[in-house]
Amino acid sequence: MPPPLLGLLLVLPALVVVLLLFVVPLGASVAGAFVVGDGVGLGNFVKTFALYTPDIVFTVLIVSLSTALIGTFAIAIGGYLTLGENPRAVAILRWLYRWPMFIPFIVVGQVLRTFLAKNGLMNNVLIAAGLITPLDAASFLDWRGIVIAFVWKQTPFVALLVAGAMASVDRGTIEAARNLGASRARILVEILVPQVATTLMVSLVLSFVTMMSVLSVPLMINAQSPTMITADIAFRINAYGDYGVANALGLVSLAISACAAIVYLRHSVRERT
């Protein structure tokens, strides 16, 4: 048997699994988005944009804002772990910051639901501390709750990757900047972050895509309108058995994720040239 054929034979089982379990269902979904009644058309998309345009905008805004906040917090955590001069504070932060990674989204949603509600723990503490009156207490169970849940859950993941990349940056490049008089904030922004930019971008794109696909958090925290695309997909299927519109919504969220990937690719190409 010629070697190329043997190679193909060896990857065949994996290839079949990928094809059957991933490519075929994806293709079916994409094709399904264009099936209207007995024919093919754009009806599902017309319906999708007529009904769900506010939700699509809402999703993009929520996920973008969350991504920006996650990036900021991850840089702050990674920066402190790398540049912090108090070894005890660094050790505590290193031990503490990873915990949310091990908590499932559904639990995060549940925890924050009891924490952020109008009569939840947060408002009770604020009222007890005399910072607000009971009349001022407002529920955070809207877009803010989703953003808080996403940031809380995803920051450790990005911080983990960013802190790892920062730790492997040549310490000399940090000391050289200190030697010339750079403050820690300048070292973080001008020396450290540019050297880990690729890792930061990759982890933020991964986070973006993960948040695009989370169903439990919007269902738990913000079931009213506008809500996120995932909740709409679940609703179309569970309430109406309407796979056409659900597939069209899926394609829209795929396109949004692809946009994030393109932003990243363009950035990394520019870096390399």
Binding site: G172, E175, A176, R178, N179, L180, A182
Partner: protein, 389 residues
């Protein structure tokens, strides 16, 4: 210690945890002087440099520049710039940005930065490379960018942490002369860390040999090379051949008693503080005159007899491994002698380095014979171990 010291280090101690890296170290460096800190890995030379730079906090002692105590000042307030072993260039910045960063931090206007960067690029032969990233430069060019970045801020003291160790051998020889010439032209005070004795001697006005966190000897390259203060310095400066001898001081000379493999010899003390008793003799392979056993001696000095074991050509000279009793030594000669030839080695008195063997107990090295193993075996603890096993 000279009084016009520009950089003065007084009783400096540094420790990481329980280990002491530097122990009450004193060193004075004059303005415009080029000092090389020379030593093996782990001797504390880099730690000393980092303490001077302000990256290591000393547990005791003081560092002063021009009379101003800088011991507790941050690295950027000491008027010093450090060139790192890895160069530590910022990969995301162009050459010009790397060189100009220190000036940007000082808040200089853009035009002034560009002018200064242009000057530095011209000074270091980097003109035309300003727009490139460090990744697109050769090792030698990166090294010059690192040097330029340090020089751009016009430091009073330039600190160099093994800046040549990442260059290949041919470029290294060229760059060390370039750095030395530049230092003399700018009249800048420089402290250079290296483990390469030739590099230290070629570049520095003064060489400071370090051993286990202390200064073993400080002096001009000639002094260090020709009058080593201890057996360690002698060995580090290339006098790797070692013999254990026995000597008696008589007036201005030391008399070496004849042994089974060597004749008696008179060596002038020449100001050395040697005492009668067990001696450690050290000499370089190239200091030896190697002859056939029956040839007439050409020079005076300590004569050893032995057999050639192996020969290799080093370029310029043949290096012979010769066994004197049980001790192997190296000896260079212009012509090769075949293995198993009986030979005589003569070491001229001025090239024979003698040191009293530290022997606190009676178990010291036997003085009437050459010692079985080379270099470090004269340490009494090791001799005792050898005797037991």
């Amino acid at each position: 210690m000279n009084d016009d010291a520009f950089l003065r280090i007084t009783d400096l101690s540094v420790g990481y945890g329980a280990t002491r890296v530097l122990e009450r170290l004193r060193l004075s460096i004059a303005r415009g002087e080029f000092v090389a800190l020379l030593g093996a890995s782990g001797c504390g030379k880099t730690t000393l440099l980092r303490a001077i730079a302000g990256f290591v906090t000393p547990s005791a002692g003081a560092i002063a520049v021009a009379g101003r105590d800088v011991t507790r000042l941050p690295p950027d307030r000491r008027g010093m710039a450090l060139v790192f072993q890895s160069y530590a260039l910022w990969p995301h910045m162009s050459v010009a940005k790397n060189i100009g960063y220190g000036l940007k931090l000082k808040g200089l206007p853009r035009a002034a930065i560009e002018r200064r960067v242009g000057e530095i690029e011209a000074l270091l032969g980097l003109s035309g490379l300003g727009g490139r990233k460090p990744g697109a430069l050769s090792g030698g060019q990166r090294q010059r960018v690192a040097l330029g970045r340090a020089l751009a801020v016009d430091p009073q003291i330039l600190l160099l942490d093994e800046p040549l160790s990442n260059l290949d051998a041919r470029i290294r020889l060229k760059v060390r002369h370039e750095i030395r010439a530049l230092q003399q032209r700018l009249g800048i005070t420089a402290v250079h860390v290296t483990h390469d004795r030739e590099e230290a001697m070629a570049m520095a006005d003064r060489v400071v040999v370090m051993e286990a966190g202390r200064i073993a000897q400080a002096g001009t390259p000639e002094e260090i090379y020709n009058r080593p203060a201890s057996a360690f310095v002698a060995a580090f400066m290339g006098a790797e051949n070692m013999l254990a001898l026995n000597g008696t001081v008589r007036g201005e000379h030391i008399h070496i008693a004849a042994g089974p493999h060597y004749g008696a010899a008179e060596v002038p003390l020449d100001g050395r503080a040697l005492a009668s008793g067990a001696l450690e003799a050290r000499f370089r392979a190239e200091a030896v005159q190697l002859q056939a056993h029956d040839a007439p001696p050409a020079t005076e000095g300590l004569a050893l007899s032995g057999h050639v074991e192996a020969v290799s050509y080093l370029g310029g000279a043949w290096r012979h491994s010769v066994r004197i009793g049980q001790t192997p030594v190296f000896a260079d000669a212009e012509h090769s002698l075949a293995p198993r030839t009986a030979v005589r080695l003569t070491i001229p008195a001025e090239k024979l380095f003698l040191f009293n063997t530290p022997s606190p107990s009676g178990a010291a090295a036997p003085a009437d014979d050459t010692h079985p193993t080379a270099t470090r075996a004269t340490r009494p603890d090791r001799v005792r171990e050898a005797a037991i096993s």
